[in-house]
Amino acid sequence: MLSFIFRRVVQMAPLLFLISVVSFVLINLPPGDYLTIKIAELEARGDSGAQFILGQYRERFGLDLPIWQQYWIWISHFVTGDFGRSFEYEREVGTLIWERMGFSVLLSLSTMLFAWLVAIPAGIFAATHQYRLGDNLLSFVAFLGLALPNFLLALLLMYLSVVVFGWSVGGLFSPEYLDAAWSPAKFVDLLKHLWVPVVVIGTAGTAGLMRLMRGNLLDVLRQQYVTTARAKGLPEGKVVYKHALRVAINPLISVAGTMFPAIIAGEVITSVVLNLPTIGPLFLRALQVQDMYLAGAILMFMSLFLMLGNLLADIGLALADPRIKLS
């Protein structure tokens, strides 16, 4: 087990290196650089001096160097834990990401929890009631969830939140609780805000998970050992939950490994709409203005999370399924 983990971790290094090269190139691929955009913004507000300071800034940010040199400067610092400075925020990339990491993790965990709590029972129900009204209804809702764009759902729920409940929209807290110390009331206020993004981001994931659960369980329920179990006279509940489900759930554990980075990528638009202080909007803005160290660092972290998630999922699978050996 330990040697397996060790090997996997060692394998990550070359992969991360490749990812770093590809993401750096991709970020630099669009025409222009951060300064082009910065100067354009200055000019758009009428700052006629913008052109004169272009050269000064380009030198300062090292944007006048060839790209491979820029890459080397970035990556050689990156491995030592110095992720560089954000051009736009003029602050350490590490600090910027760290400030928002807490809420991103909170949001991701809540969303995953929501998705699993809804998807697994719904998937089981759909599988055991195949092609009946309940199954069709759940499948309809699931496909609707997959098809509805997140931002639209977010806007709808926010509108409801304002018009029906009269709650303050956007963010994670109402203004009056932002400064307040933690209290039950503040927690309730957080929940009032959190349910919107959780439902919005969770819906798409829930739909996929539910369909996955349903399909797997249907597959397993058709297998011979299930028929045998039924023939032995085991009650249906035991057949489904003890025998079929434990096998059918394995693919969901694999999927869990990819969920965390997927949620960060998936929350971008939702968080912009809902005004959440998470990594998503930071990432979007960094890509838009070619704030390359910031964008690069977020991409690297997301890749790292994906790999770690996969590793954890593999370990989880081995624990859940005695047939799987880590070798």
């Binding site: 955009i37 000019e43 913008a50 052109q51 004169f52 926010m158 303050s168 005004n275 202080p277």
Partner: protein
């Protein structure tokens, strides 16, 4: 109680009621701090009596208190900066002239090469330390002029060509002189430009030197200074504004509290600002910004949410949201949208020759059905017109100015497709292909390309372009609509690769913001490679010819004239060139009303402001420090 005592009581109450504001003189919270000994008395906090800036309240002397809730779209916080902005030189509240602001005054030497500023004596930073020439010197030598600290660039106005030649001379604590190698009669007014004219100069030495390696031996490198250089993201950064930042939560909000040392009072002697706190929320999505406003969570907004298309919705929800539409606040847009015609197009000589042909451009202008576009894009809210600078501009206050503006607005702006066809035929574009598109000199069908961006409002540009396509095809000119990414658009515009560009045009002062009318070294959208030539002193770009040289020489000539009034003759000549040789930017509509709103209880808001042009700094010019909440 006898009638005498009741009368006496009444009189006492009356006197008290009358006397209270004048006696209080400062916010109750500050008064409390003074009585606890935590803060010096008001008299010691204000500048010397002669140097206090007294603001005449718009409606009445106000009362202290309240929080102003505003919003910004991203961490640059331009929308917040225009509110708190307090530049050294400023526009008068009616946007008609320049007046002293943070600096008490200025004077020129004989030939205009030296400008001496008088600072206000006894004026203090928001933490109580005096604001003196030492801070200016610190900015000049240790911040901007320090090549190792690249964060704050040298000010653009100090450059002569590519060399930085301006010099600072400190005369005493409150007087300093800036020397140029050429006359610079316009210089003080550059400091009134928007909020950035002063933003980088606001460097409190006593505060920033603790992060500066030259002053603090424990500091290595400039990262610490960079971390603290932006007043809007650094809590407790001393300002000279009405408020200073006390809390900053990235991605969420910034909180500003009253500056206890603020240097302005109302006419009754009460220290400003009236409003205690400003909270600015970071809200990136335009739909959410709108939702926040109509649900009554925003007290003042004029620049965050610029699409006037939201106006009907905003007006409808006024009562529910507890706000009112500031209908007197003008956009100042002389073209919104306008179509810039690139005069130095570098993508092909045949098209370039056409774009440079004024008859061709005039034909394009005649072919535009502006009324239809106004109805479709603005619901009829705008005014169909040729592209101009802001009609509110001080260049148009005289009778002659008004006549000139009138002529400019109407030049080639009538919808007259027959005339357009006639003009296009006259310049020899008579051959057409089977779709009716005219052929150029090389025998190819003429297809212009319009490059649109979110300059103005993206949706406005998209819809306008679609309608232009119809109008121009009707006279035999094809139009391709192109929507590049922002970076691509900027590159194209800079290199002269963009052909036609949608834009929002508006400016109040052509001496500080010349680029819509004159050609200078600053990047011009209509003459990009020519302006590069002027900027680099001929090292790169293209040698200018034609009307561009006239528009450049006029500006240089104008800057050498000391008197603002005499310079107006130059403005007239330049605009005349635009009328005769233009249009260089084809205006579609202008003067669109802005979706500016304020909390219904907010008082002292003038019912006139110009929002879009950069020169005036928008809301800041209306003196938000004297806004107050009615009980």
């Amino acid at each position: 109680m006898t009638w005498i005592s009741s009368l006496a009581a009444f009189a006492v109450v009356g006197v008290l009621a009358f006397a209270t504001p004048a006696m209080a003189g400062e916010a109750p919270e500050l008064e409390a701090q003074v009585s606890q000994g935590a803060l010096p008395a008001l008299g010691e906090r204000l500048p010397e009596p002669d140097d206090i800036m007294v603001l005449d309240p718009v409606e009445e002397v106000g009362v202290y208190g309240g929080t102003l809730r505003v919003m910004h779209a991203n961490q640059t916080m331009d929308e917040l900066k225009v509110i708190v902005n307090d530049p050294p030189v400023r526009w008068s509240r009616d946007f008609s002239k320049y007046i002293p602001g943070l600096f008490k005054g200025w004077s020129f030497n004989e030939d205009g090469t030296e400008v001496t500023f008088q600072m206000r004596r006894g004026l203090k930073w928001s933490d109580g330390v005096p604001f003196t020439t030492e801070d200016i010197d610190f900015y000049w030598n240790d911040i901007a002029g320090n090549p190792e600290f690249g964060e704050t660039p040298l000010p653009y106005w100090g450059f002569s060509g590519t060399e930085f030649t301006a010099e600072l001379v400190v005369n005493d604590d409150y007087n300093f002189t800036i020397k140029f190698d050429e006359p610079n009669w316009n210089f003080p007014y550059l400091l009134a430009s928007g909020y950035w004219g002063f933003e980088e100069l606001m460097t409190p030495k006593h505060y920033l030197s603790q992060f500066h390696p030259k002053y603090n031996a424990e500091i290595i490198g400039y990262d610490a200074l960079t971390d603290h250089i932006n007043w809007w993201t650094t809590p407790d950064f001393p300002t000279v504004f009405g408020w200073y930042v006390t809390a900053y939560e990235p991605g969420v909000r910034v909180v500003m509290s009253r500056n206890p040392y603020y240097w302005k009072t109302d006419t009754a002697g009460n220290q400003l600002p009236y409003i205690d706190t400003i909270v600015s929320w970071e809200i990136a999505d335009p739909e959410v910004q709108l939702l926040k406003v109509i649900s009554g969570e925003i007290d003042l907004q004029a620049r965050t949410m610029p699409s006037p298309r939201n106006l009907p919705l905003l007006i409808e929800n006024q009562e529910r949201g507890g706000y009112r539409w500031l209908d007197g606040w003008r956009s100042g847009a002389g073209g919104w949208p306008a179509v810039i015609v690139n005069q130095t197009y570098t993508g092909g000589d045949t098209i370039r020759t056409l774009l440079q042909n004024k008859t061709f451009r005039q034909a394009l202008s005649y072919a535009v059905n502006r009324d239809v576009i106004n109805e479709a894009v603005w619901f009829g809210l705008g005014v169909p017109q040729q592209g101009t600078i802001s009609k509110e501009s001080w260049h148009f206050t005289s009778e002659e100015g008004q006549a000139l503006l009138d002529e400019w607005e109407n030049a080639y702006a009538q919808y007259d497709p027959d005339k357009a066809i006639q003009l296009l035929d006259e310049i020899g574009l008579t051959e057409r292909n089977d779709q009716g598109i005219r052929l150029d000199a090389d025998g190819n069908p003429i297809q212009l390309r319009i490059d649109i961006s979110d300059w103005g409002v993206l949706q406005v540009n998209q819809e306008t372009s679609a309608l232009l396509q119809e109008d121009w095809r009707a006279v035999g000119i094809d139009l391709l609509i192109n929507q590049p990414t922002q970076a691509e658009f900027d590159e194209m515009a800079r290199n002269g690769k963009a052909m036609l560009m949608t834009a929002r045009v508006g400016e109040m002062d052509l001496w500080t913001f010349p680029d819509w009318v004159f050609i200078t070294g600053a990047a011009s959208r209509a003459f990009p490679t020519y302006s590069e030539w002027y900027r680099t002193g001929g090292a790169s770009g293209e040698e200018p010819s034609g009307p561009a040289t006239v528009l450049h020489d006029l500006y240089v000539e104008g800057l050498a004239i000391p008197s603002q009034e005499e310079r107006e003759a130059i403005i007239e000549k330049a605009i005349r060139t635009h009328i005769d040789e233009g249009p260089f930017f084809i205006g579609i509509t202008g003067d669109v009303p802005m979706p500016s709103i304020a909390n219904a209880r907010l008082k002292n808001i003038p019912n006139y402001a110009v929002i879009v042009p950069s020169a005036v700094g928008g809301i800041g010019t209306t003196d938000p420090t004297q806004y107050f909440y009615a009980e």
